[in-house]
């Protein structure tokens, strides 16, 4: 405690020393057998010592000021000894402390959290509410929950900036990616946003790599069409992730419902919602594109037989999927189609009902461990290998045009490595096959589309979240202690 930036509690006189040779009367003296503790509180810049588990008075220290200016300087625990042969046991928490530090931390955690909770917003309550609504709404729009977003906008009396059609298109593409049908997704993107992928070769490469992985997986449409199974069943592949990103999640809690049971009620729901939708005729204008591509059931059942019409039909398939595997809100927002063409709609409902039975069976199959390369189909495997060659060519081409890209190399390598194993699902690189890996690809594509439309590539909510996390990291770096009790994760459920 005598030196600059040091603090000490002396056993001989019980005085405390704060960067000075003259001490202040502080606590009792201590000697052999006593347990002395020191607690530095970086939240309010105090420190206190304990003797045998009893806290003595807290002292002000100015750790922060010099931590701020000299981030490399830190406090280090030091013990000074005078008597020869003295023995000191140091406990940094490997054993329980005599002083109830847990309880002390609980108090501070509660304090910090109540500060956050009671953050004064004064009379700007309205402003806050509008901002929060905007955040929620933009988040929904970003991830393509267009019906939910519309319902939210209706309830909160706000407007959505992006056009419904645009949201729906994005949603469709995202669904394709998340269902593992990357090829179709690429096709749809080409169609709806011409030039986008051409200007984003990196994105395209990423998508193609993913497509290859999905081919291995047997989910991509290019190989699926060879599969003996009904393609519909693949749509409701139980492992396909939901749209919204997960925060720090793992696969364990993915899709327990398998998207089956909601489908059943959907057909019923749609008829019900007819009446409620008619109350909001203004909203029905924008869904034209989706309703126009609404297929008849007959058309659909044949759709997979020929390669040439592939993309067309698959886009329609996806549309159907939109209405069945999404939440029931979805149904409300096809009022156009429903009103004009209610007979088709009802047919849809019944048609789907048959499908469900199939889906159930196939999802059972999916759960069984005997997964095979490209769905076990020989033709599909050949197609995959051919695709792989194309991919290799693309990579080389990109390399020529833009120079070497280690990221690409790694992606390609990882993807091709899958073929090296007899059971790609249980191999060191098998993680790629996990449906959860579709999410980053999906998010990248979504962001690129939004950017091309001059919309923010990230929703404000995610930005705020990122800012909060970054802010906490910064606080930690400059030694503002309260950050350790205000984890962003605590507020995400």
């Amino acid at each position: 405690g005598w030196d600059k930036h040091s603090y000490g509690y002396h056993g001989d006189d019980g005085h405390s020393f704060c960067s000075s040779g003259t001490g202040q009367p502080y606590g009792p003296t201590f000697t052999t057998g006593d347990v002395i503790g020191c607690c530095v509180n970086l939240i309010n810049n105090t420190c206190f010592y304990t003797k045998n588990g009893h806290s003595l008075e807290k002292l002000r220290i100015n750790v922060n000021s010099f931590l701020f200016f000299f981030p490399q300087s830190n406090l280090y625990p030091t013990v000074g000894l005078q008597t020869p042969g003295e023995i000191v046991d140091a406990n940094f928490g490997q054993q329980p402390f005599v002083f109830d530090i847990e309880d002390y931390m609980r108090e501070w955690r509660a304090k910090i959290q109540s500060t956050i909770k009671r953050f004064p917003i004064g009379d700007r309550l309205g402003e806050w509410q509008a901002m929060l609504q905007n955040m929620v709404s933009s988040y929904l729009v970003h991830h393509g929950y267009c019906s939910t977003a519309a319902a939210f906008a209706r309830v909160t009396d706000t407007t959505i900036q992006e056009e419904q059609t645009s949201i729906k298109n994005r949603q469709r593409i995202q669904k394709l990616v998340l269902a593992g049908r990357v090829g179709e997704a690429i096709e749809a993107t080409h169609q709806l946003y011409p030039g986008l992928l051409e200007h984003n070769p990196n994105l395209l490469f990423m998508l193609k790599c993913r497509q290859f992985v999905e081919m291995v997986n047997g989910t991509d449409s290019e190989v699926r069409c060879f599969s003996a199974r009904s393609p519909r069943s693949q749509d409701s592949y139980p492992g396909s992730p939901s749209l919204s990103p997960r925060h720090g999640s793992n696969n364990s809690h993915v899709h327990s419902t398998g998207a089956d049971s909601p489908t059943c009620s959907n057909g019923v729901m749609s008829t019900k919602s007819k009446q409620s939708c008619s109350k909001y005729p203004a909203l029905s204008s924008s869904s034209s594109s989706s309703s126009s591509s609404s297929p008849s059931s007959v058309n659909y059942s044949e759709s997979n037989s020929t390669d040439s019409t592939k993309s067309q039909q698959h886009s329609s398939t996806s549309n159907q999927e939109t209405s069945d595997s999404e939440m029931e809100m979805e149904a409300e927002h096809y009022p156009n189609g429903v009103l004009e063409n209610s007979s088709t709609r009802i047919m849809n409902g019944t048609y789907k009902h048959e499908e469900i039975l199939q889906t159930d069976e196939s999802s059972m199959e999916d759960n069984c461990p005997q997964r095979q390369l490209c769905g076990g189909n020989h033709a599909a495997t050949e197609r995959m290998i051919q695709f792989g060659r194309e991919l290799q060519t693309l990579s080389e081409q990109l390399c020529r045009e833009y120079g070497k890209n280690t990221m690409h190399k790694k992606m390609l390598q990882d993807a091709f490595s899958l073929l090296a194993y007899s059971d790609p699902w249980n191999c060191p690189v098998g993680q790629q096959l996990d449906p959860i890996q579709r999410e980053p690809v999906c998010a990248a594509l979504n962001s690129a589309i939004l950017e091309s439309q001059n919309l923010p590539k990230q929703p404000p909510l995610m930005l705020a979240l990122g800012q909060a996390s970054e802010c906490l990291r910064l606080m930690a770096r400059v030694g503002l202690g309260s950050c350790s009790f205000a984890r962003v994760d605590d507020y995400l459920h």
């Binding site: 606590g27 009792p28 003797k51 588990g53 009893h54 806290s55 003595l56 008075e57 807290k58 005599v98 109830d100 309880d103 002390y104 609980r106 108090e107 955690r109 509660a110």
Partner: protein, 601 residues
């Protein structure tokens, strides 16, 4: 109101209507104290209690809510709850009905449980078992009210406290549940109340004072309650509870004294109303003023407990800024509570010899103390007079001025008090005063006390009074000239008294003290004759010389030795007389005894 009550009591009216009536009455009761008074005048309580017999839960809840509001009012006498014995058992039964009944009933109990009688009634109706499981209720309000209930039930009640330690709720012992409620992230009210429960249990001996839940949990929690960050009310309650917890245990006093600089922290209790609040904020000033007395008395109480046993702690307390001045000021405050607490604090500090000689003298503490002793209520007198005892000790420099300010008269009047503690303290102080005092003081004491009063005290039913009176006599009868002087004036009465006590049924200490008085008398030059001429006494001395108790033997030996002291005139005759009585034989026997003290002679 009467119409509402009428409707409420009508069995024929619908339960909805009756419920609404109870709700309206409850709202009225929320008003001023006068509202509650007039409701009480209309006999609302029996009407509502009657309502509790209804089968309808909502109606019951409304009645309970109204009852709760009435009972927590300070104008409602608690006894109204206990007039009918069936009421309590019915309330206990209602505890299981809903979380609202639980909350209200617990609240009623905790407000109406004043003193050991109420505690016993509630305890006998199974309050502990019925309320214990509410401590783990999901509703915070229920938990809190149940906790409050226990804190009043257990307060200074060993029976309840001993039961509580062994109660198990949800597989956990009650003390463990209380400790959980002490956690720092719990609401302050909850921490404080559970600390009170644990304190009561500890004082009742149900939890050891070195148990970690007291030393490492309850005590630090209570110290935290004294910190500046807490509300004034919480600081008062925290300090009072802590004072109670550590009152009799030195180790706890030591720990408390080093925890969070408690002694310095308490000095802040005297800073209300602060000078800032006086100028800037009338509301704050009002608030401060209201609590200022409470804060001061709480601080004094806690200082008193802290300094009760340990000399180092006393020193630290007195070294706290302006401490002695604050006590001196406290002694002359208008509030009885503050005065009492200040005297208690002073009393605690007066046990220090060093402080008696220094700071007590510097601050002329005796002056305000003597003032307090004039016309004070008994509770203050008790503590003040025992403080005076300490100030009158022979080495205390205050002794002289206190004597000069008429202490003898005051103390003599105390010895006539109805109150036992006051009699003890009065005579005790006189005893201290007489120790190695001058002739004049001794005569003053004797005159002030009067022989009648002295005899009165010697026949007092309390051993302490008797012992101190004998002690006074013994102190009075020391140094030869004094002995002779006193014995020449009061010899006859004293000898009578001594005979009486030696013949009476008293314990050994009393007899020993009496024999010592005799020994002192025997030391006098002329006073000796009073013994030598009194065969009765001589026979008694002889008897005690062969008594089975060594102390008594020793005391009797002193008498003999004083009587036969060689260098004095007429010692030969006395020796002869005693030899005739056969004392020498006993002495021979005693000289062979194993006790070295006895072999002395």
């Amino acid at each position: 109101v009467s119409r509402l009550l009428y409707l409420l009591q009508q069995e024929s009216s619908s339960t909805e209507l009756r419920t609404e009536c109870a709700v309206v009455l409850g709202s009225l009761a929320m008003g001023t104290e006068n509202n509650v008074k007039s409701l009480l005048d209309c006999h609302i309580i029996p009407a509502l209690l009657q309502g509790l017999l209804s089968p309808d839960l909502r109606f019951i809840e409304a009645c309970l809510r109204c009852l709760r509001t009435i009972f927590i009012s300070p104008v409602t006498p608690e006894d109204l709850l206990y007039t009918d014995a069936t009421v309590i058992s019915h309330l206990m039964a209602l505890l299981s009905r809903s979380r609202y009944t639980q909350e209200y009933i617990c609240q009623i109990f905790s407000h109406c449980c004043k003193g050991p009688d109420h505690q016993t009634i509630l305890f006998n109706h199974g309050a502990v078992q019925n309320i214990a499981h509410l401590l783990v209720s999901t509703s915070y309000k229920v938990r809190m009210q149940a906790l409050k209930c226990f804190s009043v039930l257990a307060f200074e009640n060993p029976q309840v406290s001993m039961t509580l330690v062994n109660v198990v709720v949800d597989g956990e012992l009650l003390p463990q549940i209380f400790v959980k409620m002490l956690q720092r992230d719990k609401p302050i009210e909850m921490q404080l109340t559970s600390a009170k429960c644990l304190t009561s249990m500890c004082r009742a001996g149900a939890i050891r004072t070195d148990d970690s839940c007291i030393v490492l949990k309850t005590l630090p929690c209570l110290v935290r309650m004294c910190s500046k960050e807490r509300l004034l009310e919480e600081r008062v309650e925290g300090a009072e509870t802590l004072a109670y917890l550590i009152e009799t245990d030195v180790e706890l006093q030591r720990i408390a004294s080093i925890t969070d600089h408690l002694i310095v922290m308490l000095a802040d209790y005297f800073k209300y109303p602060s000078s800032v609040s006086a100028i800037t904020d009338i509301k704050r000033l009002d608030h401060d003023l209201k609590h200022a007395h409470e804060l001061r008395q709480a601080a004094f109480k806690l200082y008193a407990s802290l300094g009760a046993n340990d000399e180092d702690i006393r020193k630290k307390i007195i070294e706290t800024e302006n401490m002695m001045d604050r006590i001196v000021n406290g002694l002359s405050e208008s509030s009885i509570k503050v005065r009492l607490a200040a005297v208690r604090c002073l009393h605690s500090l007066s046990r220090s010899v060093q402080q008696l000689r220094t700071s007590f003298q510097d601050h002329a503490v005796w002056k305000p103390l003597m003032k307090v002793l004039q016309n004070a209520p008994n509770e203050i007198l008790v503590v003040a007079s025992s403080t005076l005892c300490n100030l009158l000790l022979e080495f205390s420099p205050s002794k002289e001025p206190i004597l000069e300010s008429g202490a003898i008269e005051l103390l003599c009047s105390l010895t006539q008090s109805e109150n036992l503690a006051l009699r003890v303290n009065g005579i005790w102080a006189l005893m201290n005063m007489a120790f190695q005092a001058e002739q004049k003081i001794k005569s003053d004491i004797l005159r002030g006390l009067s022989t009648e009063q002295l005899f009165q005290l010697l026949s007092d039913s309390d051993v302490n009074v008797l012992m101190k009176t004998l002690g006074l006599l013994r102190n009075l009868l020391s140094t030869r000239p004094h002995i002779d002087h006193i014995m020449s004036t009061h010899g006859k009465q004293i000898m009578q008294a001594v005979t009486l006590i030696l013949e009476g049924e008293h314990n050994i200490e009393v007899k020993e003290q009496t024999l010592c008085i005799l020994a002192n008398i025997a030391d006098g030059t002329t006073a000796k004759e009073l013994i030598m001429t009194n065969d009765d006494i001589l026979q008694k001395i002889k008897y005690y010389m062969s008594h089975s108790n060594a102390k008594l033997q020793l005391a009797a030996m002193f008498c003999i030795s004083n009587l036969i002291w060689n260098e004095e005139e007429g010692s030969q005759e006395r020796q002869d007389k005693l030899r005739d009585m056969g004392i020498v034989d006993i002495l021979h026997k005693l000289s062979q005894s194993s006790d070295p003290n006895l072999c002395d002679k």
